[in-house]
Symmetry: C2
Subunit: 593 residues, 2 copies
DNA sequence: AATTTCACACCTAGGTGGAAACAT
DNA sequence: ATGTTTCCACCTAGGTGTGAAATT
């Protein structure tokens, strides 16, 4: 069985033989990506053209098969008879050249059939994964979602059908009220777990926080605390601080599907990135902004491919050394915080217990909640270790809950990551919006939308110096997070010392909806920042307690610098950041104001 | 006339036709770089193989001709009869494949001859460019330099001859005593200019520094000061500070040839990078480290291609707004400065007077001297504007003098940049050291040398956290710079205010040799830091005086962070950084110690 | 059988010099 | 005739998911 591909629009002075490639998809030797002479096609063409011919046909191994094909069985009524191992994946990307794409061959027997079957099956993954099919949803699992809820008519049957099924548009809540309502009325599986587990957990030994004493150790091995939800009453000054999550829409998209974050030995960035805007700070004061990630519950999970859902797989694995990630630009002046957002794009997650890079260490298949802390450097004459004088507040955004994984479980998460993370652009379907589709629906291309939003708004989070046209998504929506604050004598050292205890957990139940808050969040139970200390500065050394402590003494300013690469990077982070709603959920969730 | 090339060692399953390319070098259409199917060869082969077949033959335009061929006429006695416009450049890079290289064709008439002529002529550029042929040097200009001074026998005549002429080894002072002595006894043309101009310049109006008053303006247009060389006596504390230039050998190499730095509208980095190590600082104190670039003299230069030398072309152009470049990691703690070097790799040079990015603005074809300043943040309660209390010192490394250009003038500088800047690796001759040469001279490959020096030494400038094997050139040689210090009431504001005056200049005459200093450097004339203010922080805004001022108030620490990409980047910066001497010129040039 | 690791193609982001086009 | 600008191929550096292989 052979597929062959012809690419149009190539520079004409190449030999035709090089343009035409025959690949035996049954050959025992797997063809990795496009061969060099195929990849070269791309270079011969314009930027917009993606042509990876060799990938039109390939075999997949068991694991990939199970992950990619099996989940779709659940949602699709079409009977599956053949062994999954015999299936073939459809081309991972469509072939699109300047002149068009044409499948020439494809003379396969059952393979071809199966390929189409699985392609249809994949389309069924359009809608968010649910444990139960919610009322009002298509029981079949959303095979028709593309056309029905997104108001797209059926796309071209060949490559574009699958491509469109996973298109940005198909995965976005574009404000279409019908789908919007359905989603809001539906219990998301992740939230089910979160809320169930949070409710089942007692408050626990949060009161016995001062047992351990690792504060003097350079590399204390501390365990990860659960989320304490009952903060003390903050000082009036700290209470005024509010914190909003940038790119909330993107986070929401992931949250609906059940966010997963890859963890690797060498460390993997989070995507989406935690980005917050702080307000209510004193422009003259200095602040430390940091984040950590704490367990949501005491459970280990597994992903049931046949049900496309997460299941509890038992008790949590032994806790790992907890780490703080201090923002590399710390300390900030209040003035800075008011003008610019704080992006934690550089934080990395790892499953390596012995990590020496200061990455945050997590257990795979566990559920986690990132937290953002802000500490006021109140006393610049503070000693190195005695940090009892500083105040801090903690903000939690429930939509940022995620499951740590070493490989993606839910294919929709993979798809959403690919479509929204610019670094994964190489895996996108280049035929997402073909010329035909644009013509048929008079719809603006994604690129146009991005451009519009890029230039229609003025950058509010940056100084105006960089005239490179950045500023897209600068008014992207935000959401105010719930805040836990303490101004008592709990310190970073205490966080370290106390983190060897497992604490009870109660997830903020009312925070899953935007713009609401409950007074129960202000219960006067201290909220220690717990965990071992992160490495020192940019140098890669573990941050010792004294190092973190010394970083908070004094009132030194962040000296002016000229470059903003750190803030550049994800200002445009793929289609989502730009085209997802301009709403700004400005409701401040702090009840201390 | 046609050249054709056959590349060996390619992956065998490519069509032979694709391996063999015939290119009419007389064709009117210029072939830019290697065509795609030729470039592809490179990908098919190993990393070490570079194959850009199409460049074996090409025509060049007038400008390139004048710049590249004409200079070689001067040094070469061979008579030139034909018009330069008819010449052909030799292949810009050699063709080297895993299996070897073979010139198949080459049936040209005079073109071929001329090509060989110019190739030989290029070899004459081996030695530093000199205005006068110094005694002891080959009067012909060094055509035989490769064989004679480098103790290489005549290399292979074809591609490798030229390749070797520009090899790293040929351009390095490898410690070979014979050449070393010759070089040290020779007056370099740039130094001639520097010293002549410095001597001919009166001290000038250095005393009338406080005339202007731009200190309150956000974007004051100030002129660039000449180098003041007579500092006041520093405070005892500041006098202890010494500053050494990292990668001095690389700077020396460029200095010998007459360093040129490209300036572009959008800004161009410096190469080599200004990197200094500071010692004698108070570990507990906070410091600001910044740099600026000042005119060396009041002259404009032009490059005489036919003489391969720089000539004075008249008085300097009107001065441009002077800019300070504050190191983006400021403020530093003294502890940090003692542990790590300060790299100004991100500073950019521009010729755009209206630059809004905070890049340093220079006049093309003018000679400049970078300076490094360190300011102690003495009083953390200082007001925003009143900065009269801080002390600072200035360090000048004469080997970092350069001429700003919009296009390289001296071809040897181009060659050295290409060979030493990793970003220019694409322009390197892959055949610099062929297998044959290695065999003949039992010489270690450049790669081996780099590797040796990479792993033989332990990193001393970084914390040990990053275990990625970096640390090469970590003990690379340094040289102590001359220091100008003041502890009087001259401030950054004063620098701004006074920079609209042209000041006299006296270049430190004794600093061209390592480890010497003259007492005249300590003459008690204030050394203001002058110029307009750089943009604010990473945000891209011009740095206002108050911004720079506020950055120096308080005693706040640089908060610990985890990543050190900024310090990674140029730790390995091409062969030179690694293989150029392990000497550490540790002689401290400050006479205040 | 489930999960983790690894090498790798393919991106983003941006630093190089070359050559032609442009400006003066 | 000389100097400058622009575009581009070709690098460095590193962030993506992929699928086979390794590990548990």
């Amino acid at each position: 069985m052979q597929w062959s591909v012809s690419c149009y629009g190539l520079i004409p002075d190449r030999e035709p033989a090089a343009h035409h490639t025959n690949i035996d998809i049954r050959s025992s030797s797997y063809i990795p990506r496009a061969p060099a002479h195929c990849r070269n096609f791309r270079r011969l063409e314009t930027q917009a053209v993606s042509c990876t011919c060799a990938l039109l046909s390939r075999t997949i191994d068991r694991t990939a098969l199970r992950r990619r094909i099996m989940p779709t069985l659940h949602g699709k009524p079409a009977p599956m008879t053949s062994e999954p191992a015999d299936w073939l994946l459809p081309p991972r990307r469509g072939v699109r050249t300047a002149g068009g794409t044409k499948l020439i061959g494809g003379a396969g027997g059952d393979s071809e059939t199966v390929e189409w079957r699985s392609r249809e099956a994949e389309r069924s993954k359009l809608l968010p994964v649910r444990v139960e099919t919610p009322p009002g949803m298509n029981p079949a699992g959303g095979v028709l979602a593309t056309a029905s809820t997104m108001e797209y008519s059926t796309p071209k049957p060949q490559l574009s059908s699958r491509a469109n099924a996973f298109s940005i548009a198909a995965l976005i809540s574009t404000g279409n009220s019908k789908e919007k309502e359905i989603q809001e009325n539906t219990i998301k599986p992740l939230e089910q777990f979160v809320e169930k587990s949070s409710c089942s957990q007692p408050l626990g030994d949060l009161s016995s926080l001062e047992l351990g004493d690792y504060s003097g150790s350079a590399s204390p091995v501390c365990t990860e605390p659960l989320i304490p939800t009952t903060p003390t009453v903050p000082s009036a000054e700290m209470a005024k601080i509010s914190c909003s999550l940038e790119t909330k829409e993107l986070w929401d998209k992931f949250h609906e599907l059940g966010t997963e974050m890859i963890i690797t030995k060498s460390g993997r960035r989070m995507f989406p990135t935690i980005r917050v805007s702080l307000s209510g700070v004193d422009p003259e004061a200095k602040y430390i902004v940091l984040m950590d990630i704490v367990s949501v519950d005491n459970k280990r999970y597994r992903y049931a491919y046949h049900r496309s859902s997460w299941l509890v797989a038992g008790k949590a694995d032994p806790p790992l050394p907890a780490r703080l990630y201090v923002h590399p630009d710390c300390p900030f002046t209040g003035e800075q915080l008011l003008k610019q957002m704080v992006s934690f794009e550089k934080v990395k997650l790892t499953n390596n217990e012995l990590d020496q890079h200061g990455h945050i260490i997590l257990n795979s298949m566990h559920k986690y909640q990132p937290r953002v802390h802000i500490i006021k450097k109140k006393d610049h004459t503070a000693s190195l270790v005695n940090l009892k004088s500083e105040e801090f507040r903690t903000f939690i955004f429930p939509e940022t809950v995620f499951t740590a994984v070493t490989a993606y479980q839910n294919q929709l998460i993979t798809k959403l990551k690919i479509d929204s993370n610019p670094f994964a652009k190489g895996f996108r379907d280049s035929s997402r919006l073909t010329d035909m589709e644009r013509y048929c629906f008079q719809e603006e291309s994604v690129e146009n939308l991005i451009q519009k939003h890029t230039y229609a708004r003025s950058p509010i989070r940056t100084y105006g110096g960089e005239d490179d046209g950045l500023g897209d998504e600068s008014q992207a929506s935000q959401t105010r997070g719930s805040a836990f604050t303490t101004s008592d004598n709990l310190t970073l050292s205490t966080w370290v010392a106390s983190s060897s205890n497992f604490s009870g957990f109660q997830h903020p139940q009312s925070l899953t909806a935007i713009s609401t808050s409950t007074a129960s969040l202000a219960a006067p139970i201290p909220h220690p920042i717990q965990g071992s200390l992160p490495p020192y500065s940019r140098i890669g050394m573990p941050l010792t307690p004294s190092a973190i402590a010394s970083s908070m003494q004094g009132s030194g300013p962040t000296f002016p610098t000229f470059h903003m690469p750190r803030y550049h990077h994800y200002f445009q982070q793929g289609p989502y950041a730009a085209i997802q709603g301009l709403r700004h959920s400005s409701a401040v969730m702090t009840h201390f104001v």
